[in-house]
């Protein structure tokens, strides 16, 4: 294995660690770090929640706890994101790295935060530490795509989730009460919820389906630090939401927001980010609201489940009628099977 492959191998582990923080770290990005000495991991960690230590400090603490502090000066620190160089809720990570005298630092993404961007490399180099940037950069960038948008546009990242028949419908004939998608797909949706700070739907969905919109049966274990996501219900008239709806009566009812008469979805997303620190939001709505968000160019990522069923009729997953002026295109879409359902996923560009 050459040096480049070795770097990629350790960075991959750091990425896996970082992913454990998805949905927990807002307004911070999720970050993972691994300390490697002579092809051995001697410390690792990730950012577990905003306010708690950063990934680098967790990895350092782990290395110290394992009695490896003496090896740090001969070790490389792999971290998915450029280390922070300013004091926030915690002191700058560059300081801790310099203090422990690491030989080399390898990172994936540049920090999109304008206050940090590109600064760490200089600071570390000036302290005599070798720096390699951009290892598995795409993968590292993908991890923090919501955070990047938060920084650039000051609004929440929107993942639209739909579960449709092969002919694009989200409902079945009234005599059939079953879900369209199977258990594996539905369980993955709970994992998606756990990776977001909020789930958004329309009043009509609440009136028709009375969903819980909580994390109950996730595909992957969820951190005990994770709260239930906010449930945001958009409606013309708050009084039209039945008082006995699950979202309004269950033990998480204080995590439900009803938002009336939204005329500007961009402003809504800006407010949700600024006021509630909602970095990522899962839009689980019917076709009308879905179409509104698409029209506004505000669906950033598409997660479409296609159940192996043709219904011939029913409610459209995306309301038909007028063409979108700018079509929504998935960039490098992926397809994955969940049981017999196919999930097509990708980031959205409008053109």
């Amino acid at each position: 294995m050459n040096a480049e492959d070795r770097d990629a191998r350790w960075m991959k582990l750091a990425i896996e660690l970082a992913g454990k923080g998805l949905g927990l770290t807002s307004p911070n990005p999720c970050v993972g770090a691994v300390i490697v000495h002579k092809d051995q991991i001697i410390g690792s960690g990730f950012h577990e929640k905003a306010g708690l230590p950063h990934a680098e400090r967790n990895a350092i603490a782990d290395g110290i706890a394992k009695g490896n502090v003496g090896l740090f000066p001969d070790s490389t620190l792999y971290v998915t994101l450029e280390p922070c160089s300013t004091t926030g809720k915690t002191p700058p990570c560059t300081e801790a790295i310099i203090k422990h005298g690491f030989k080399r630092v390898v990172y994936g993404s540049e920090d999109p935060n304008p206050g940090h961007k590109g600064i760490a490399a200089e600071i570390l180099k000036n302290a005599g530490i070798k720096v390699t940037r951009g290892v598995l950069e795409k993968e590292c960038d993908f991890l923090i795509r919501a955070f990047r948008l938060n920084m650039m546009e000051g609004r929440s990242w929107v993942i639209a989730k739909s579960a449709m028949s092969l002919d694009g419908h989200i409902s079945r004939s009234p005599e059939r009460s079953q879900w369209l998608t199977g258990k594996a797909a539905r369980s993955f949706v709970h994992t998606l919820r756990s990776e977001c700070e909020a789930v958004m739907t329309g009043g009509n969905t609440v009136r028709m389906d009375n969903p819980s919109l909580t994390i109950r049966n996730p595909e992957k274990p969820v951190s005990p630090l994770k709260e239930q996501p906010w449930r945001i219900i958009l409606t013309r008239n708050a009084a039209s939401i039945p008082k006995n709806s699950i979202c309004l009566t269950d033990e998480f009812r204080d995590r439900t927001l009803i938002v009336e008469n939204v005329s500007n979805y961009l402003e809504l997303l800006q407010n949700l980010y600024t006021e509630r620190k909602i970095s990522s939001l899962l839009l689980e709505s019917g076709g009308v609201l879905m179409k509104e968000f698409l029209k506004a160019g505000l669906v950033d990522e598409w997660v479409g489940f296609y159940a192996p069923v043709i219904t011939g009729g029913g409610v459209d997953g995306v309301e038909g009628g007028d063409f979108l002026e700018r079509e929504a295109h998935l960039v490098k879409p992926s397809a994955k099977m969940f049981g017999d359902d196919v999930c097509i996923r990708g980031e959205v560009r409008y053109q």
Copy 2:
């Protein structure tokens, strides 16, 4: 490798060979055969076209041509389908197998033809040949799914092909002239055509899109024995099909059939099988005809391409409106990427 794995390994090769006959052998099924002596292939062949020799005889001729006839009594013949035991256009294969004194015969599928079914095994055993049945039976059955239906229901097998947006539309806004799907998916459709005896569409598609419906850029090489598929146009009124349509004017115009005022699709498929030996038919139509065939329970297989685009409007891939009384369910669907398009495919059951 144990004996079972070895059998599966050779049968897999026979299946690959058989597949080369797809679309060529009607009204016969496609069949492949491999002769193995001490873990070496000493002869192989497949059924290339109706009227030409069966797979077993081609494999035997290949073995003879290679000077291996002396090894036959110590060899195993692998064949995807139970050998025929009656005289058709060619004498029974069981005769040739017995004549050459093979030690053992291994086959996958039972012949669904009631005149052959299960008979070969008895004949061969009585001649002192060991017989193993059912090796990779599912895979072998899959190869001849159209033939089985031809035998059971006396009609053509219908593969419905659609190419839709992620929201179930087959057309884009008038300002956009591009195809929804990319080159790889379109090329695969040409391969699908080469595996069928006919392509069917509606008059409206001919009027709107003026398609060629020929095999031009297939994904896989096509046998020189393959004719262009029949092009069957269903319409209320033959006079409504423009005289200058490609299907009516190109060099294959004698392969175009216009069928007027079909009221009974089952009868149509029975006639196409009986009169034209159309074993498999690719339905490449708009949503209206697609819905008609689904309503009638006559789509046997679904090949749906999903392009990574949300259009928000356009013609439905399957006409909306009333629910299908019996939903169309894909059995063990598969998903495969063709470039950025996802192909979801499976046999259909109605329930």
